[in-house]
């Protein structure tokens, strides 16, 4: 059962401060790890004084040109997926809900595949063609699911989840069909489907940033209402909430966030499922705390996972989605075993 009693304010500050500090430390360490290793002090010097004569110029190039944008994008995507996951777990009262629960991944996959297969060249708001099509695909899929599940100005949870599952299956099948008919781009699509941040740079970060930040902020503003929703429809209605408006607002905010992360990162699984559970263990189930805390945890997890992805098999790169699933799966099962009955 959700804890609705707030802890003292200063403890929150301390806990968030600690989490933020840990995230920053992870980021600095991540910037130092790779083909060439730098100590945290070298990294900090390269960041703070890139022009200083005593600064190692190789470190400046590698940290600023090759690692910084990708690391920040990992943090952004992790934060976005985790916040959206936390919101969906609350909204659906389902601890297994993740950002892709209502079709965003299938839609994004089809969008990206079409862009790759048809060699679409549109660009918009700094999104590359593939990213843009994935973004639009994710939003369209969620829109379709919502339209199907809606009955009399109200979309029941179960209907949403079922419609999401059905549409995802259909869209994945379409992707497979497209790939069978067009072998050449197979590897490109496959790499995209597994999720990865290989070769991502400042442009990718710039295009995702506004949407993810906006989405997380919006979710945070909706936090009190998600609290009410996660206690069940009767409770929410008795508090005077419009179920339909609240639910559609949460879905819109979470889907914009998810779509913007998928656009530049592909389908990275598990972060959006696990991070909220970790955050809930640390901060309780109050969404005003849970959403930003999930974001911080998610950012940290994905920065860690991506650092592992680019170093564990060096000089090879692994798709980060494989790692999040392989590392996240067992961890999630352990959490499940340890705290059966935890409700989102």
């Amino acid at each position: 059962m959700a804890r609705l009693i707030s802890k003292p304010y200063w403890r929150d500050l301390l806990a968030f401060g600690g989490l933020l500090g840990l995230l920053l430390l992870t980021m600095v360490l991540s910037l130092g790890i790779g083909a060439v290793q730098f100590s945290p002090s070298e990294v900090l010097q390269a960041i703070i004084q890139p022009q200083h004569p005593s600064t190692n110029s190789t470190a400046v190039t590698i940290v600023w040109d090759l690692r910084m944008a990708r690391m920040l994008l990992a943090a952004l995507i992790g934060a976005g997926l985790a916040s959206a996951g936390a919101a969906f777990q609350g909204l659906f009262q389902n601890p297994l809900a993740d950002p892709f629960a209502i079709g965003a991944s299938g839609g994004a996959a089809l969008g990206a595949t079409l862009a790759i297969v048809l060699q679409i060249q549109w660009q918009w708001l700094g999104f590359s063609a593939v990213a843009l099509c994935a973004f639009i695909g994710a939003l369209l899929a969620v829109g379709v699911v919502y339209t199907i599940a809606e009955v009399g100005g109200h979309a029941p949870r179960t209907a949403l989840l079922l419609a999401g599952a059905a549409l995802s299956t259909m869209l994945s099948a379409t992707v497979s069909l497209l790939l069978l008919m067009n072998e050449q781009p197979l590897y490109e699509v496959f790499a995209w489907l597994l999720g990865g941040l290989s070769g991502r740079s400042w442009d990718n970060l710039r295009s995702s940033l506004p949407f993810v930040v906006l989405g997380i902020a919006w979710l945070w503003l909706l936090a009190r209402r998600i609290d009410a929703l996660s206690c069940g429809d009767e409770v929410a209605q008795s508090l005077g909430l419009s179920l339909w408006r609240t639910r559609s607002a949460v879905i819109a905010a979470a889907s914009i966030t998810t779509a913007a992360t998928v656009a530049n990162g592909g389908i990275i699984g598990f972060v959006g499922l696990i991070a909220p559970h970790i955050a809930r263990l640390l901060f309780g189930a109050n969404h005003a705390r849970l959403i930003p805390a999930s974001g911080l945890v998610g950012a940290m997890l994905l920065v860690l996972a991506d650092t592992t992805a680019r170093t564990i098999a060096a000089p090879l790169e692994l798709p980060v989605g494989i790692l999040t699933a392989m590392l996240g799966g067992p961890f999630f099962l352990y959490l499940l075993k340890r705290s059966r009955g935890v409700r989102g």
Partner: protein, 352 residues
Amino acid sequence: MTKVRFSRFLSVFLLLGSLVACGAAENGVTQLPATTVPPTATTDSVAVAPTATTAVSVTAELTPTVVVSNTSSSYPLTIKDSLGREVTLTAQPSRIVSLAPSNTEILFAVGAGDALVGVTKYCNYPEAAKSIDQIGGFSAKTISIETIVALKPDVVFSGDESQQTVIDALAQANIPVIAIKAENFAAVYENINLIGQATNHPTEAAQVVAEMQTRIDAVTTKTKTLAAADKLSVFYEVYDEPLMTAGPQTFIGQMVELAGATNIFADVSEEYPEISAEEVVNRQPAVIIGPESHGDKLTIDLIAQRPGWSQIKAVKDGKIIVLNGDMLSRPGPRLADALEALSQALYPELFN
């Protein structure tokens, strides 16, 4: 999500099917046939010692699985193919289907091109191959068994284990399948002889092999003289998104070595691994080479725009070489052309 994951499994199989032993051959980009360089007249036939870095012997002892008689094959003929399967042909095949672009090139080279009645959609060389009926793509899932059966072939030359399901299905239909697989130059010579033998063109096959060996020897004789300090380090870019290179066991990798250069990723064990851009910057290749298939993305300006790549020696010096990827990656007669093109592009001063 479970469904999404299932389809990922599906794509894994698809992917393996399409990547094994074909690499750049899987690009469907129509390319101009490379101009064939006339064989250099040389009486030099020194066996090339394997370079220290690869365990590949170029002119390894030819051990043809069938005894090559000089004039013609006698039928019924039993052949042991690349997968160790024994296949019996009752007569000289007059209707042949090829399931790999490299097989198609070999068949034309040995003079059996006229008998080809079915090819893959990637069989774009020689020109005549484009007008033959297509039976599908290269990966097993995209090959139409029904189309092959309808063509009533006397023999099918398939690719390697990645087409096992097709091989099995055709065997069920009593169509002889000869699987062809090559991991190094010696195996290619063997396959050319084997295909020549099976199609009753043993003499032409022996000529093709002899000419290839002569031309390859002519190149390696020159590139062997390079001092260690003059050897160029090469980054071969198979694909840009995701960033992929060719490992030392691939034909591209072997060719880079034979051309007297060093592959900056000679330490990987995979055929076509995804590698990190950071490693490319860190390993500072002197030359970047890539196939024409994504040549529009392999210009000096575009490469220099990639984050951090402007710091790479090859980019600073403007040393970007674009070659015909099919020629480089297909284990067939054009390997000699590919090696000549590659070594001349790398060391023009050696070949003037």
